[in-house]
């Protein structure tokens, strides 16, 4: 296929194209192709069984459920955190801002053992929860806590720039027109932030789906109860069930891609919408 040579004075097209494509092929395309082939190169009955087996179904439900709950929690609190960081001045604001990125920078194994230490029965928070009958570690609640930890930066960092870009003139206009502050918040600001909030939610959600390191220490890994999908893949591998592991991996990949696509599409669409308004 002859690539129409772009009319550019700048050199380096061939070189960079060649290098980029080779790199991507070796690192991404070939390995992913192997997954697709391994996952689909089996009788449909086996594929169906691997993916719809009761234990797998419960793992799906758990994985999606905990990811959803954690992302909702993060959407709520993340919005507050982002708002507070942008709009208010208070001592320690910069430290708060830096702390947001900790889950992003900290290795998942470290967060895993640290969270387990805190929420286990004899841990700092765990031993307060125990008399209340709340089991934090070794339960779905523990998974939600770990995923909330992991997902927070995604929401805050997606919403923050949007809040910063809000035009104060619009709020002024609303105030001048006599709207009470809460109404302004609800009907002027929130709709403006919503696209970013949704994008952040979806990104955090996708991230939570695949999380492994920080969850396996705190969850207890009980099949049918606290076994997440990514652990199930490892378990199937250990039983030499490559086909089953690949089948589950493929489905996880598909759902992540769909989510990623939704985010990108949503951003493209809202950019177009803004352009049309302008």
């Amino acid at each position: 296929m002859a690539l129409k040579r772009p009319h550019s004075v700048v050199p380096g097209f061939g070189l960079t194209l060649g290098y980029t494509v080779s790199y991507l092929s070796l690192i991404v395309l070939v390995p992913l192709a192997a997954l697709v082939v391994r996952g689909t190169n089996q009788p449909w009955a086996n594929f169906k069984e691997a993916v719809f087996d009761p234990r797998t179904l419960i793992a799906w439900r758990l994985t999606f459920g905990t990811a959803f709950i954690a992302s909702v929690i993060n959407a709520f609190f993340g919005l507050i955190v982002a708002w507070v960081l942008v709009r208010y001045e208070f001592p320690g604001r910069r430290i708060l801002d830096a702390l947001i990125d900790v889950p992003f920078a900290l290795p998942t194994a470290v967060s895993g053992i640290a969270l387990t230490a805190i929420y286990a029965q004899n841990g700092w928070i765990g031993h307060w929860l125990q008399p209340l009958g709340i089991k934090a570690a070794f339960s779905p609640l523990g998974i939600v806590i770990a995923l909330t930890f992991i997902g927070l930066p995604f929401i805050v960092r997606t919403v923050q720039p949007t809040i910063e870009d809000l035009d104060p003139a619009v709020e002024e206009a609303a105030a001048l027109l006599g709207a009470p502050r809460l109404t302004t918040l609800r009907r002027v600001i929130l709709p403006a932030i919503r696209p970013a909030l949704v994008a952040g939610f979806v990104t955090a959600f996708a991230r939570c789906l695949g999380e492994y390191g920080s969850v396996i220490f705190i969850s207890g890994n009980m099949p049918m109860k606290t076994e997440i999908a990514s652990l199930l893949i490892v378990t199937k591998l250990e039983q030499f069930d490559y086909a089953g592991a690949s089948a589950i991996a493929l489905l996880m990949l598909l759902s992540s891609f769909v989510l990623l696509f939704l985010v990108n599409f949503g951003q493209w669409w809202s950019t177009r919408a803004q352009q049309r308004e302008a």
Partner: protein, 339 residues
């Protein structure tokens, strides 16, 4: 502008070189021993002894690398290309898998060394809190209502499979080989299990560190290790009336040693486990030695439990694995997680 870049690159390249050329032990021969989790301390000690002995006998230096993990995980890794010279795993089935799925070990491996290629054995005992508050003395106590039992997942952990088989064997003998009653016993046992860790070490951590459970079903050597680590003032071992003879076998990985040219050393390495020196090290690390002489010496720490073998109560591993631990097997049928 370019000067800082040049400096940065120079520093970067220098540190890369520095890291790369950091001294590594330069031994002439390397052996990789791929083992399961509880043997860390055992092989730490054994490897030193063997290296010294080999040096004395042949003048060659040998360095032994260890890899530890769940027995099944390790077998899979070897199948996927982990270059093990020897494997020392938790059950024969895992080594059989390497034979069947990757043809790296010649069939008939279990006859090449003495005692089914198992130089040391262990068994399953109960680890309980000091004072034994729930009064757990034998298997029937473990299935009592209100007792919380910690044992790992038999589908992923070798030790867990021995736990399961120990319980199965006890019930099998008690109920006169009635499979239905035996199944009920197993179901009752796992109804008392709140957490299924994926590995034996994870289960021990849950019981010991996280404080969960009344009794831990454990390898005998792990139980002793826990007491050594955490203090005899916190835990005690209760020996059941009967338990399973757990045989963790060893084997040379034929294809790999031929490729590496390490066959002689690898075979000598495994044979050394059977010598008095090797058996002593095993006994010191709480593994039951095959040698009667050494066993007599360490009699105090290995009480006389009535031991049955897997073939006595359930059959050969080839049959036991698919029947009990494969998907939809007996375990899957009986296990209903607590809500």
């Amino acid at each position: 502008m370019t000067q800082p870049y040049r400096t940065a690159i120079a520093i970067f390249a220098a540190s890369l070189f520095q890291i790369w050329s950091m001294p590594q032990a330069s031994a002439q021969i390397h052996l990789l021993n791929v083992s399961y989790d509880p043997t860390r301390e055992l092989y730490q000690e054994f490897n030193k002894a063997f290296a010294a002995d080999w040096k004395q006998k042949t003048g060659q230096s040998v360095e032994i690398d260890q890899s530890h993990g769940g027995s099944g995980t390790q077998a899979r890794a070897v199948i996927d290309g982990l270059q093990a010279d020897v494997v020392t795993l938790a059950l024969a089935y895992d080594i059989d898998a390497i034979v069947d799925k990757a043809h790296l070990i010649n069939p008939g491996w279990e006859k090449r060394l003495g005692d089914n290629s198992t130089p040391y054995t262990s068994t399953i005992v109960f680890l309980v809190r000091k004072g034994n508050p729930k009064g757990i003395h034998d298997w029937p106590d473990v299935v009592r209502k209100g007792v919380t039992v910690i044992t790992p997942n038999p589908k992923t952990s070798g030790g867990a499979r021995w736990n399961y088989l120990a319980a199965w064997g006890y019930a099998w003998n008690k109920y006169g080989h009635d499979e239905k009653k035996t199944r009920e016993f197993i179901a009752a046992l796992y109804a008392n299990v709140p957490v299924l860790d994926s590995g034996a070490r994870g289960a021990t951590t849950t019981f010991v560190q996280r404080g969960l459970g009344d009794v831990l079903l454990s390898w005998e050597n792990e139980a002793y290790l826990s007491i050594k680590e955490f203090g005899a003032d916190k835990f005690e071992i209760v020996n059941p009336s009967s338990s399973i003879l757990a045989e963790p076998p060893v084997a040379v990985v034929d294809v790999n040693v031929d490729r590496h040219g390490t066959r002689k050393v690898a075979e000598a390495y495994l044979k050394y486990l059977y010598t008095d020196a090797g058996q002593e090290i095993a006994a010191k690390n709480f593994y039951r030695p095959r040698s009667q002489a050494v066993l007599a010496k360490y009699k105090k720490q290995f009480p006389d439990i009535k031991l049955f073998s897997i073939t006595d109560v359930a059959g050969a591993w080839k049959d036991v694995q698919p029947k009990h631990f494969a998907d939809h097997g007996v375990f899957d049928q009986l296990y209903k997680p607590q809500s």
